[in-house]
């Protein structure tokens, strides 16, 4: 399998603060990979650096997408390559309707006539959004906003979808629903890399996992192996 995404000795500095300390990781085409770790480990920094949303001057090392170096690209350019991100905290456009939010996801697409179909398929996947299609994004519940954030990503027809804590602040039932959808999206062919604090659901959904601790990757394995690892069990699964 080809490596769709690869981070090589990637560092991130917020000024003098060395937040990510030389990590190596990759995601193969078609894979679903998770990055878990405690608060402040550097997960968001890593994800947003891939998608071009962190200040570029803080980056050291290389980020390859389809073999091409992208660590100098601004966010809007990365989006054009086929990388979409559902941000931590969802970041829905609060004063746009659900429909308009989805359309913004398709901002860079030229094939306008297919956009309508893609919107409909998001509504089929998340019927709760269909009922609220003309409602303002800011008035949705947390779960609905997360569905919308994922839907907005899908509207760009991404090759790689990045999700930052999709379970954040949601009730267990909704979390389950969201992860069923993520699993489906991956099985339909989109490569997925997601960050989670809910390690249990993360490791039972993804194929492979990386464990991050204070800016470093301390473990990487298949999720099956990680779940059986005593350290992971103790530190992340609360067993």
């Amino acid at each position: 399998m080809a490596k769709l995404l690869e981070l090589i000795d990637f560092h991130y500095y917020y000024g003098n603060i060395h937040s990510v300390k030389g990590i190596n990781m990759h995601v193969e085409e078609g894979e679903m990979v998770t990055l878990i770790g405690a608060n402040g480990a550097g997960k968001t920094t890593t994800l947003q650096s891939i998608s071009g949303l962190t200040k570029r001057k803080g980056i050291q090392g290389r980020i390859l997408f389809n073999g091409k170096e992208i660590q100098t690209y601004p966010g809007s350019k990365v989006a054009g390559l086929g990388i979409a991100q559902a941000l931590e905290g969802r970041h829905i456009f609060s004063k746009l309707t659900v429909d308009e939010n989805l359309r913004m996801g398709a901002y860079l697409r030229k094939d306008t006539k297919n956009i309508k179909d893609d919107i409909d398929s998001v509504y089929k996947r998340f019927p709760r959004l269909l009922e609220r299609r003309n409602q303002l994004g800011g008035t949705l519940s947390g779960g609905e906003q997360q569905m919308l954030a994922i839907g907005r990503c899908l509207l760009s027809r991404p090759k790689l979808m990045l999700l930052d804590e999709p379970s954040l602040g949601l009730a267990p039932l909704i979390v389950k629903e969201i992860f069923i959808a993520i699993n489906e999206i991956n099985r339909e062919g989109t490569t997925v890399l997601f960050v989670e604090q809910n390690s249990k659901i993360a490791l039972s959904t993804a194929h492979r996992g990386y464990v991050m601790q204070t800016g470093e990757i301390v473990m990487s394995d298949t999720c099956k192996n990680l779940m059986e690892n005593t350290e992971v069990k103790k530190a992340y699964l609360g067993v």
Binding site: P74, G75, H91
Partner: protein, 291 residues
């Protein structure tokens, strides 16, 4: 009397509304207040005068050229000064202070180029006055009202019905999310400042025939536009339009029924009143409270 005041109030209110729009657009896109916004009016008036009166170009062409020139000035201001300072991570207050400097630069530059006397903007229409349902006014004044309202409507269509306009609003709402959708937020902010400048320049060109053209035209009228933006709800596009019009009406009615001496004072008293009683303005714009 009432009808005359109403029309006059709407005419000047429409201009205030245009100016207010600029302030609100900028605040929305950058979270800043630009003191140079009023001077874009002055710039527009002088540009209009140059194209129309000195170069003797047709009015419509002068209008388009003024809009285009101010648009470019707006982009340069945002890219050359505002963003350059933002990239140095200075406090917002320094950027606001920089806009004060820009304001004086524009005032002094226009003074150096055109002198201190108020210049007359030549008549645009062949008929000097027009009478509509019993109300007689300068033809330019009626044109001013029509153009202001049309511009507001066009801007509304652009911002809500076009993909690019919606993207600009998205970038102002949530830059991070907008960037991740592929929207070039830096360009979007630049265009917002450009639009604000261009709209103000049109206001200047409309005021020219009524007030004459002088270097502090913009800073005087600009303050009214600012007050209008606050009254409507600072940062709210529709609030700006309505706030500007309300201010124009109040000012005109105060002058007509009571006293011309205090009409400016009343306008700013309303501004202060709103800041105390309803800082979110008529349109309940939360932007001010949240930060």
């Amino acid at each position: 009397m009432f009808k005359i005041l109403l029309i006059n109030g709407l005419i000047i209110g429409g201009v205030y509304g245009l100016i207010a729009l600029g302030y609100s657009l900028i605040y929305r896109a950058s979270g800043l207040m630009s003191f140079a916004q009023g001077d874009m009016i002055t710039l527009g008036a002088y540009l209009g005068l140059t194209f129309y009166s000195i170069l003797r170009l047709p009015f419509f062409l002068s209008f388009i050229l003024t809009f285009a020139c101010a648009f470019i000035v707006g982009v340069l201001l945002e890219k050359g000064v505002i963003r350059a300072l933002l990239n140095k991570s200075v406090l917002p207050i320094y950027i606001v202070l920089a806009t004060i400097a820009i304001s004086y630069i524009i005032q002094n530059a226009t003074q150096a180029l055109f002198g201190t006397t108020t210049l007359r903007f030549p008549q645009v229409f062949s008929t000097a006055t027009l009478t509509i349902s019993g109300i007689t006014a300068q033809t330019e004044a009626f044109a001013c009202l029509v153009i202001s309202l049309a511009l507001m409507f066009l801007l509304h269509l652009f911002m809500t019905k076009t993909k690019f306009g919606t993207a600009m609003r998205s970038a102002a709402m949530d830059p991070l999310a907008a960037e991740s959708c592929g929207i070039n937020t830096s360009m979007s902010t630049g265009i917002t400042w450009a639009l604000a400048a261009a709209i103000a320049s049109i206001a200047g060109m409309l005021l020219g025939p009524m007030y004459g053209v002088y270097t502090t035209l913009g800073s005087v009228v600009g303050r009214k536009g600012f007050a209008g933006a606050v009254v409507g709800g600072y940062g709210n596009m529709y609030g700006a339009m309505v706030g500007g019009i309300i201010l124009g009406l109040v000012e005109t009615f105060v002058a007509g029924y009571w006293t011309g001496t205090y009409k400016n004072l009343i306008a700013y008293a309303i501004l202060i009143l709103f800041l105390f009683v309803k800082p979110t303005g008529i349109f309940n714009e939360k932007a001010i409270q949240d930060v």
